[in-house]
Symmetry: C2
Subunit: 410 residues, 2 copies
Amino acid sequence: MIYKIAVKDARYKLDGNAGSDAIHRDPVYSYAVTQLADDSGITGTGFAFTLGEGNDLVCKAAEYYAQKLVGKDIEETMADFGTLFKQLSDDQQFRWLGPHKGVVHLALASVTNACYDLWAKKKGLPLWKLLADLSPEAVVNTLDFSYLEDALTKEQAIVLLTEQQAGKATRGGILKTGYPGYDTSVGWFNYSDEKVRENCKKAIVAGFTAMKLKVGSADPERDIRRAHIVREVAGADVKVMLDANQQWNLPDAISICKKLTDVNPYWIEEPTHPDDVLAHRKLAREIAPVKLALGEHVPNKVIFKNYLQAEAAAFVQVDAVRVGGVSEFLTVSLLCKKFGIPVVPHVGDMGQLHQHLVLFNHIAMGHEALFLEHIPHLQKHFVHPANVKNGVYETPQEAGSSCELIGITI
Amino acid sequence: MIYKIAVKDARYKLDGNAGSDAIHRDPVYSYAVTQLADDSGITGTGFAFTLGEGNDLVCKAAEYYAQKLVGKDIEETMADFGTLFKQLSDDQQFRWLGPHKGVVHLALASVTNACYDLWAKKKGLPLWKLLADLSPEAVVNTLDFSYLEDALTKEQAIVLLTEQQAGKATRGGILKTGYPGYDTSVGWFNYSDEKVRENCKKAIVAGFTAMKLKVGSADPERDIRRAHIVREVAGADVKVMLDANQQWNLPDAISICKKLTDVNPYWIEEPTHPDDVLAHRKLAREIAPVKLALGEHVPNKVIFKNYLQAEAAAFVQVDAVRVGGVSEFLTVSLLCKKFGIPVVPHVGDMGQLHQHLVLFNHIAMGHEALFLEHIPHLQKHFVHPANVKNGVYETPQEAGSSCELIGITI
């Protein structure tokens, strides 16, 4: 039984322009951390990700949700978590602050993630293993399909997972080889051209075959020059992703993306406003076969459904510490599977939680094991930091979701 | 010069099931109130609207924005408010909690509205008059057109307003007749059938020619029965609006809306999830000529643009205390004018602020003077309560935006 809760505001300054992009010149990677203490002596930890200012608001909202879990048994709770998730996200007064977006939804993510962590720890299993061993019905019972009925019902989701059962053993081979990573840190926005060039070389040596550059400069020529640097150092076979962090309006995006075609980007990420489904659809059509990726600022499953229905995103970067937690991440992953679109999470968690989720998505849902973003900047703060070697995430073996932070105790 | 700011959490319990709808069974009408004290002795008041829980979070976020106004001259600020609005809404750390939605955007609404109020009070004019007398350029300088460029640029907005200049004098006739109202309070969700019937009769006697019923029950038969009661009492000529408060998924919405066609609704409001642009498009096509209205849960101009581009809403209910304040309300109103869609605000402000804005929309923007929602439940709390007689809002004459609340002082 959960007998005590605590929510902590954890903020981590970054060194030397790491984390900078076209919008965020001085980010402070921050977690609103929920801890659920169980009377078995086990504590579940989950968090949502922000960039500093206002992280306290998320903590305050998370306390409101977490209080409702006191007295509950975690296994009983997770047996029908989808219903609880809907109840909490539709809290009649609180939902007016969203619904299903912004501070309140980030707070729900923090609490939801703590529930999944506690569940796995009580089972003594890494989260990927707990999830992969569940029946399709048990997985789906942790999810909420409200407002998705025109695209995917609960019953259809069970069928989808059931169809994938046969291939699970084969796809489980990834547990030995590890899940491929890609390097986001070669080209933060504030890095000099020289540093970008040097980082690309280092990434290649470290075994990465995919890497990302931040673009979205007020001067498109800077973007184009730097993209060519990365392509030149990386060679033709490496996947190069370009991330504009929402800096372009639609007319500018069309024009600049066409100019970036030369460097053969694997995707162009967040070209414009994250709420603008129809602008992304138009852009995707204009610049095909160049593909778009987005998701770190898409707050919920309903908007992801719209992106998928509009064929506006070729890669979905849903993030379990940015939508309503693991539950909504899995729901969106099922939607993507239905639409045949790969899930390549944004990692506000630095990959700690997502290393579990992409293994599950591959093994049990049949998603392609493409690659998972790798950002090393907070490694020293985690009790069990993700282990990325030769460009590959080693499969985590500790019980839970690998989200415990050093010094954050209930 | 603004020398002091204060943000207050004002909550008002409602009596006897007033305010109840399909989601909100026990709402507490609440305002996050920003006050800006000017060294001329004048104080500007603005607010955002919530339903209770979490109103303190909006207040906390509003303080963050309001602090940035200390030391500024209000007239200089409003001469280029569009730039400031963009800066505040794109605050590099804070925007991660949105962007442009949820708690942080409501907070921006509160602060923005206080700016417009202070501006009008310093000019000694009711807000409608201040705005109506501005040049098209001066109006547009208070707005932010970012991410709208594919639908409406700043330059196009100036042209649009300039074209409407010639008809201003004629349309100004509305100042004498008053702006028509409609009665939202005949059919709150928890009211009994008898009370609904009685309220309809009262509304007719009070001079209203349009009224709204809350639907979205778990039992569609209840909705249909009550809709017929309203139509029967109101007669064929009164406009009857049905409000489902997001309770239906798309398949259910299609089925129930078709059954409600019999009562000839003037519109069906918020049939499904407010983020689901494509579901509304599909529904609108399926149930035509019955029309859809929505907007109270649409947080920003980008999503409104999507609704307009998708031809998914026939009436736009943008609310200046729910989007980013008066500035974004006017931007969305311009977008609607471009697309030929009427603006019929939701009134989280109980019509206090919107009585000014609809007059401006009609006189200077050429929007049809359809009608403005009327909710009387908080009248006694306002210093200058809106005066609705014979179903018509009398034109406010006091300086400012009529948003001062009794007992809320800096």
